[in-house]
Amino acid sequence: MTEAPRKEGTRDRYGKTLAKLAAKDRNVVAMDCDLGRSTRSYDIYAVDPQRFFEMGIAEQDMVSTAAGMAAMGKVVFANTFSVFLTGRAFDQIRQQIALPLSNVKLCGSSAGLTIGADGSTHQSIVDVALMRVLPNMTILVPGDGNQTEQAVMAAYEYKGPVYIRLSRYETLNYLPVGIPFKIGEAQVLKEGKKVVFASYGPVLQNVVFAAELLERRGLDVGIVNFHTLKPLDGRMVETLATEYSHIVSVDEHSVFGGLGTAIGECLAEYASPGPKAILHRVGIQDKFGESGSADELLAKHGMDPEGLAAYVLGLI
């Protein structure tokens, strides 16, 4: 009897990686706003209870306190749900994290639609947009468990502010193992013809499934993983613009301010020597979410494998 392949949320591997880092570096600390068992930041507690700081339900206070600890040389992982971290504490992030280049890793958990049943109040769908406009901010969105480990290690090694967008949505470890993770370098998962998907985060798994569906229909579609939303890999965008006719961006985020927007900015300024690709933005079309299961919500917004495949078929 074969075991079913193990699924995990990026938040799960995040917690484990945080604990590993804490075991090797005494300067690693974590704080949370009464959600540590959900965000998995509490995993650090088992390594050293002194280095887990329960800040209570006070996101603004947590972010400013994180900045203070960072000023003392700590590598601070500041955690709560993405929607509260980036929304409630935006000014603190702007003033005390981004502006002074504080070495704080802002870990926004349960991001996107896939928090599911909690509904629109908790669905963080503009966080990338908010963080992307801040100077000095780096944004990483790992696509599966293995990549989360790489992304968290990269954020730790990078001295400065990083926003890491994490999810509770459980996926397989579907990304190829062994591709090096470099901040700012997009990964080509698959070469294709005419159409290329550009996506990031756990929804990328649906993109991979969609490409498989399309392959059965005889369509060879490319896939690129833009795990770093900022700085965006502009060279990759230019390459895709030249090599493909259509770039389909898939954001588990508002189409305003996410990957589609970032690619669009790049594309618009790219003086292509020949014809360049048209951009199509799949994502949340300037509306709020609602309660439902993660998969139902992704399907409703056209980001299930079938929906994505149908979208591509409609282009051709």
Partner: protein
């Protein structure tokens, strides 16, 4: 007990700060006069008396820290830092001009001696807590001093942080509230009343004092009672006068952020020089 001579010396330094502030602000440019003048005595007592802080130890992890949470009053801190030899005196004139290290609000990346990014009000105490928490993890013996504006207490984050300091037993934090009664557009009490301040801070778990923020003897006396090993974090509500020392700026919000004409400038300089001269005479006589 701080001796009488020392108290007089600190008073004089506070007046020198005020005079230097006016010179630095000069004519025809908008600056935060009121709140910079009201906190000069507190800043003088901290930098020149209480804190383990000097040009020599300013990079030592065990130094005491001062955070100007009401960031718009940072010119007072710039002047004090120049008196400590950390910022060259001639640099004060570059305040808020393009390319200067002396930004309009505190920038810890640009200015030596600035310990925290503040200016957007309400964030300083949380930041101070972070310093104290990290210091405790590292076994450092440090004290963290913070100056809050009274209007700033209308920011909810201050009270989030106040709960944290008390809950975590951060006894090495000492907060001054510059209670000058005015915010930018009028009296603090007209918009969101913050009194009774002593009761509020006590209820939040703080050791609380209320003093005359221009009585250097009282400032020193209450600071003598703080050594960082107190049973609770320490807050001193300092009743002050907005615009202290320049008659036409006192007790009004109009000079919270304003500019002076030549005549006003000269009057301010004359008044402050007069006060300093009187202090000098008192000391020698």
């Amino acid at each position: 007990m701080t001796d009488e001579g020392k108290v007089r010396e600190l008073e004089k330094k506070a007046w020198m700060i005020r005079l230097e502030l006016i010179r630095m602000f000069s004519v025809g440019k908008a600056h935060h006069f009121g709140g910079s003048l009201s906190c000069a005595d507190i800043v003088s007592a901290l930098y020149f008396h209480k804190m383990n802080y000097s040009k020599e130890n300013m990079n030592n992890p065990e130094r005491d820290r001062f955070i100007m949470s009401k960031g718009h009053s940072v010119p007072t801190q710039y002047v004090a830092l120049s008196m400590l030899g950390i910022i060259p005196g001639e640099e004060l004139k570059t305040l808020k001009t393009l390319g200067t290290r002396l930004q309009g609000h505190p920038d810890m990346r640009k200015t030596p001696g600035i310990e925290a990014p503040t200016g957007s009000l309400g964030m300083g105490l949380s930041f101070a807590n972070g310093i104290a928490m990290a210091g405790r993890l590292d076994g450092l013996t440090i004290k963290v001093f913070l100056l809050l504006g009274d209007g700033e207490l209308q920011e909810g984050q201050v009270w989030e942080a106040a709960m944290s300091s008390a809950n975590r037993g951060l006894h090495n934090i000492c907060v001054f509230v510059d209670r000058n009664r005015f915010e930018s557009q009028g009296e603090v009490e007209r918009s969101k009343g913050i009194e009774p301040l002593v009761d509020k801070w006590k209820a939040f778990g703080w050791e609380t004092f209320r003093i005359d923020g221009h009585d250097m003897g009282s400032i020193c006396e209450v600071l003598d009672r703080f050594d960082g090993t107190n049973s609770k974090p320490f807050v001193i509500i300092a009743d002050t006068i907005k615009g202290k020392g320049v008659s036409f700026m006192e007790n009004t919000f109009k000079y919270h952020n304003a500019s002076l004409d030549d005549k006003e400038y000269q009057q301010a300089i004359d008044e402050l020089q007069g006060t300093l001269a009187a202090l000098g005479e008192g000391r020698t006589g």
